[in-house]
Structure formats: C-alpha cells, structure tokens
C-alpha cells in the first residue's frame, strides 16, 4: 500500500479511494442499494413510515443475535457459524419455561433463567472444542451447529414434554414445529413503552433491552478482561507473553457468544410471536454473520457500531426489497437479492488477504 506521507497532500480522489478501501466496496454497494430503496419506496406507493417501522421492528428482533458475534470475533475465534448451538439453549429455555407452567411476562424471565445455565454448559463444551482446533474454527463451528440442530430434532420428539399448548394434539407427545406464544411472552418487550405515531410504531422495550446488552458488551470490552480478550484476538503470542491465559479467554468469549445467542432467540421469538423448532435454527447463523459483516466488521475486528449499522442495513434490505421490487418491476426478486448480497458479503470478508487466519 502506498500510504501518502502527509495527510494534507491527500486529494479528494485519494481520500475517496481510501474511504472506499476502508469501508469496502460491497458494503458501499449494499448501503447505496438500501438508500435507493428508501428513496424509491414512496414513489412506488409502499408507505414510507410503514417500511421504516417494519425495519425497526425486525432490527429489534435480530440485533442481539448479531451482537452475539462480537465476543468471538474479538477473541480471534472468527465468525460464529455455530450460533445454532446457542439458539438451541434458548429454545430449551423457552420450551421448559412453558412446560413448567409459567405464563405472561414471567415466562420470558424464566426462559432466560433456564436458558442461561444450558448456554453456559454447551458454550463451555463448544469453547473447549474450539480451543482444540485453533485455526479451523469456522468450518467446524458450522458443523457443530448443524449436528446440534439435527440432534435436537430427535430430542424435540423424544423429550417428555406434556404441555398441551406445545405437543401434537393427536399423539400427546413430541413438540410441534411452531408453538404460538400467545398468553406467554408474545411481544412482552415490544409492548413495553411502545410508541405509535400514525403508521410508525417503535418497540421501545425491545430496543432498550438490546441497548442494555449492547452497553454491557461495550463496557465489558473495556474492562481488564475485555481488553485481554481483544489482545488474544489481535496477537495471541503477545497476549501469552503478557501473561494472559489464551485458552481461558477464548473459552469465555465462546460462552458469552452462546449465551447471547440464547437470549437473542428468545427476544426474536417474543417479537415474532412463535417458537420455531426442528430445522428452523439450521441456517440462522448466516443472516447474523452477514449482518455484522455488512455493518463493517471483518473476520477479526468488530464493534458495537458494526452490529447496529449491520443489522439495520441487513434487515432494511430484507423488509424493503420485496415490496419495492414487486411494485417496481413486478417480479419478486427479493429472495435472490438477499442471498446474493448476504453470501457475497461473507465471501468478501473471507477473501480479505490482510486478515488471513493465524
């Protein structure tokens, strides 16, 4: 790289180029595309405020799962393709909470309380495994996620659940594929301090909950342990020399990530209104991974800002493309656009040479 020596010598073009370089071309294209969608939306008759509140809603559902990517990226474990493992802990928490007869807002609290120990135990096992195979984390994480989801598919059928709201009516056993949360914690966060102005509605409670977790994460990263974790990610040899227990830091980051994923799926469910079991968590890691990458993170660098920007951009595309594209060209190409944009983003991040794994 030919870095100019004096900043004052930078021409506008150079500055633009370095901006594009640091921001990444694909990211720029996606942001521009979203901007275009928002500009086009009112013209094609898709209510602008409706779209905005849709986007904000979906943002509030998904943001915590994207936040779950941060700790593992910081500790150098790469992108957490094993997110489904945490999601499963969350699902176990949710179903057990209902099984034990909790209802209303209490069921949400209990779901979190039950999911936490499960997530910690699973996360420790997962982290121990990832410590054994440093360098090959991402591929193995993917398959740990897949195996655990397909293992749980059997378990959902076999575990002795009895709550009539959850099991198949005719057989009396085996959980349903989707379980309605009405009467349990459907929209329990979203309805808290909800703001409604015309067609714009903001789920304040969910956003506050995310803000709380995001702030906690930010604060944690600035504690001694947090900085040690970042040091492990950016330079493990140096960190080891400084007396940091590398394996312990990595383990901690994996547990944190798994726990956040568990909380994330619970928040997602309360917004969505349903628990989805069986194959549903299978590919849930991919949207979260591409969201944080779109937000400006790379395989070994991520911040809370990346999470917020990324989730907003990604969910914006998810909600905007179907309506706008449908109205503009009468073809629903949103599916294709979403796949190409999100997978393309992951590909771009994986091929950055400067960030080659150690």
């Amino acid at each position: 790289m030919n870095e100019p020596l004096y900043k004052t010598d930078l021409t506008l073009r150079d500055r633009l180029r370095s901006f594009v370089n640091s921001f990444g071309l694909p990211r720029l294209i996606i942001a521009a595309f979203l901007l275009m969608l928002y500009i086009a939306a009112p013209f094609v008759g898709a209510g602008f405020w409706m779209q905005i509140s849709n986007t904000i809603n979906r943002f509030s559902w998904n943001a915590i799962m994207v936040l779950a990517m941060v700790p593992m990226i910081h500790s150098g474990c790469g992108l957490n393709f094993g997110l489904p493992l945490g999601i499963i802990s969350g699902l176990l928490g949710a179903t057990l909470s209902i099984e034990f007869g909790f209802t209303g807002g209490l069921s949400f609290l209990m779901a979190i309380l039950i999911a936490t120990p499960i997530a910690i135990i699973l996360g420790m096992g997962y982290g121990w495994l990832l410590n054994k195979i440093k360098g090959g984390e991402m591929m193995i994480a993917t398959y740990v996620g897949f195996s655990s989801v397909s293992f749980m598919c059997m378990m959902w059928l076999l575990l002795p659940y009895h709550s009539p709201t959850m099991v198949w009516g005719f057989a009396g056993k085996g959980l349903r594929t989707t379980i309605s949360l009405e009467g349990f914690y459907d929209k329990v966060l979203a309805n808290f301090l909800q703001i409604n102005i015309g067609s714009l509605s903001i789920p304040t409670g969910t956003l506050l909950f995310f803000a709380l977790l995001a702030f906690a994460m930010w604060a944690f990263l600035h504690t001694k342990t947090g900085t040690a974790m970042t040091a492990v990610g950016s330079n493990p040899t140096f960190a080891r020399a400084a007396g940091v227990n590398v394996d312990r830091m990595r383990l901690l980051s994996v547990v944190l990530s798994t726990w956040l994923a568990a909380i994330g799926i619970l928040v997602y469910e309360q917004g969505f209104g349903f628990i989805q079991l069986y194959m549903a968590p299978f590919y849930m890691a991919l949207p979260a991974v591409s969201a944080i990458l779109i937000g400006g993170a790379s395989v070994n660098k991520a911040s809370i800002a990346n999470v917020i920007i990324g989730t907003f951009l990604f969910q914006g595309i998810v909600t905007m493309t179907p309506t706008v594209m449908n109205n503009m060209i009468h073809m629903d190409m949103s599916e294709v656009i979403r796949v190409v944009a999100s997978q393309g983003m992951i590909l771009y991040a994986l091929t950055r040479r400067t960030e080659a794994s150690k």
């Binding site: 054994k132 991402m138 591929m139 397909s150 598919c153 294709v336 796949v339 992951i346 994986l350 080659a356």
Partner: protein
C-alpha cells in the same frame, strides 16, 4: 511381546478407521431391525452406488491438491442441471440427451470452477468454509438465472419446462424420456436385483482416469501443492494455476455426476436437487474412511455402501425402536452431519499435533546447533 504389538496394531487400526467401524456397527444393528429382505437391500444399494459414486469421485482431486473437501461441487451440480434444462427444452431424449447435456455442462462447469478456484486462491487456509459459502452464493445466482432469466432473456420455450407465467423454470422438470436410459442399457437383472452395467463401466473408466491422472505431471504437481505450497512454488510449480485446474476438474466431474444422478432419478427438482448434494457426497466419502487430506477410490466405494445402507435402514429401524418414523429420518441427518463434524475435528487436531511436533523438532535441532 508379539501379542502386545498385535494389540497396538489393532488399536491403531481402530483409531485410523473410527468412522467406518462405527458405521459398520450402526448398520449391523439397524439392518435386522429394519426387516428389509436381503435382495431388496442389495438392489437399493446397487442403485445408489450407480447413482452416487461418480459424484463422490469428483471430490478426490481437490483433496489431492490439499484444498480439502470441495463443498463447491454444488457448482458442478448446478451446471449439470442447467444443461439438462436446455436438453429437455430442446426435447433431446435418451442417451443422446445425456451425452449432449454432458457436453453442454462442460463450459458452464469450467466457468464456475474457474471462478471458485480464483476465490479459493484468495482464501488460502480456509478453503472449506469459503467453498461452502460460494455454494450458497452461487445458489442465489442460479436462482436468478433459472427463475428469472430463463424464458425472458435466455430462450426457453417448451411448455413442459417453462412456468406458465412466461419466464422461469418449473419446480420440477421431468426427465421421463431419458430416465435410467444409461442404467437400463446392458443392465443385468437377477432375483430382483438390477445391475446397471453401463453405469458401472462409466464409473470404472473414471476410476482409471483418476489413477492415471495421479501419475501425470499435473497430478504430481497437485500432490506437491497439497503437501506444501511454498515448497511446490520453490520447485517452479505454478501453485495458483494448479489449484484452479484441480477445482475445475472437480467441478466438471461433478457436473457429469449430477447428470448421471438425475437420469437415474428421472426428474430434476429445479431449486433443491443440488442444494444438499455436496453435503451427502462429502458425508459418504468420510464414512468410507477418508479424511480431509487423504482419500482413495476405495474410500468412495466403502463409503457409499455403508452410508447408504444406513440411509435406507435408519427410518425403518428408528420406527421399530421408538414407534416414530421421523426419529430415524432425523437420526440419519444427524449422523451425516456428525460424521462430517467428527472428521473435521480429527483432521484439525492431527494437523495441530503435527505442527507442534514439527515445532519441537525444530527447537531441538536449534538447541543442538547451539550446543555445537
């Protein structure tokens, strides 16, 4: 003394072949439970061998060149499907249709393979996850082409292929007119078992090709690249080019394999046939005792037999044990993923152990140098 060495040998044999042994045990346990007759089972396995072996063989060459399990073989499968869509649009039937589809798939496969290889060269050291994401990415492009561009930009006219809305391809494209045309030619039928001789002949030719290819200059280069890229580069091998070629060959073979697979099935599920094919082929290969850096033709055959036996008997056996057929279905999916996970873990731990051993050795040598 002799006894001990035998025990040690047995132990190392078991350790090196954990996965196949595990599968033999699963199959031995499930077959009696499933209650299938021997001839039924044999017929099914032979059918599936004819259907899948070609595809799995396509994985061998990237393993040879050290690029791991080529999840990008899905790209070849897509190329094969696109070729078959054209052939059924033109109403070319039977064996000529299969041959035409194979020829048509070559340029598409080469294009996709080159793309895949170039990207993998930019992501050295994490080829597998990258090729895995490429397959998703390309699936998006494939949908764009097949669902939106075919019929509107790319000429497709036959009503049996095109969606009634005027563009896009139907969810299933029937290959009734070329169904099992290769399998049935020269087939031998005895006691309810059909042996598709011609298919096996084609597979045999491919096996010979792979054996021969290993001995060519290019094959030797690939092995050198697979051993150590830097050493190979010092020896004057164009590493990047060699790696691209190995992916291209794999993609082309996967395209052929997919066409053979689909002519056996008799229809294309346009938007889903290819999506899981890579996963199943890789699982089958690993079940046969292959690892991420070492795979032989023997592994392929053993893997197909073991994996598909499990696949056939698991639902029935699961239903016998638990009274729910879904358990068995989920079980086999779990086992497929579990096998891949296990093999990946074993490969990575082995790699790390070797690395640390090499480091230790280097340290020792340096100490000796210092002592002198």
């Amino acid at each position: 003394m002799k006894n001990k060495s035998f025990g040690a040998k047995l132990l190392s044999f078991v350790r090196d072949n954990t996965v196949p042994i595990m599968f033999v045990l699963i199959c031995a346990f499930c077959i009696p439970l499933s209650g299938f007759s021997f001839s039924y089972l044999l017929n099914e396995i032979i059918t599936r061998m004819g259907r899948n072996i070609f595809l799995i063989l396509a994985l061998l060459i990237p393993i040879m060149s050290g690029m791991g399990l080529n999840f990008g073989m899905t790209l070849g499968a897509m190329a094969g499907e696109i070729a078959l869509i054209f052939v059924s649009d033109w109403q070319i039937w039977g064996i000529p249709g299969v041959i035409l589809a194979m020829i048509l798939s070559i340029p598409i496969s080469v294009l996709l393979g080159t793309f895949c290889g170039k990207i993998l060269n930019m992501a050295k050291g994490r080829e597998m996850i990258t090729s895995y994401i490429i397959s998703f990415f390309m699936n998006g492009i494939y949908q764009l082409i097949v669902l939106y561009m075919m019929g509107s930009i790319i000429p497709i006219s036959h009503f049996s292929v095109k969606l009634p809305r005027g563009y896009g391809i139907r969810n299933t494209v029937s290959l009734l007119n070329m169904r099992q045309c290769i399998d049935n030619l020269l087939a031998i039928r005895t006691n309810g078992v059909k042996i598709p001789v011609l298919t096996f002949l084609i597979i045999g030719v491919l096996c010979l090709f792979i054996v021969w290819f290993r001995r060519t200059k290019l094959g030797q280069d690939m092995r050198a690249v697979g051993q150590d890229m830097n050493v190979a580069r010092d020896a004057g091998i164009n590493v990047e080019r060699t790696r691209i070629i190995s992916i291209v060959i794999s993609t082309v073979l996967a395209g052929f394999g997919m066409i053979l697979y689909l002519q056996n099935m008799g229809n294309i599920a346009t938007y889903s046939s290819h999506s899981q094919i890579g996963m199943f082929c890789i699982a089958a290969l690993l079940v046969g005792g292959a690892s991420v850096d070492r795979a032989s033709i023997g592994n392929v055959f053993l893997g197909v037999i073991l994996f598909h036996t499990m696949f056939i008997v698991a639902p029935k056996a699961g239903a016998q044990i638990t009274g729910d057929s879904m358990i068995g279905e989920y079980f086999r999916v779990f086992v497929s993923y579990g096998v891949i996970t296990l093999s990946l873990i074993m490969y990575e731990t082995k790699k790390r152990r070797q690395k640390s051993q090499m480091g230790l050795q280097l340290q020792r040598e340096q100490m000796e140098e210092g002592a002198k």
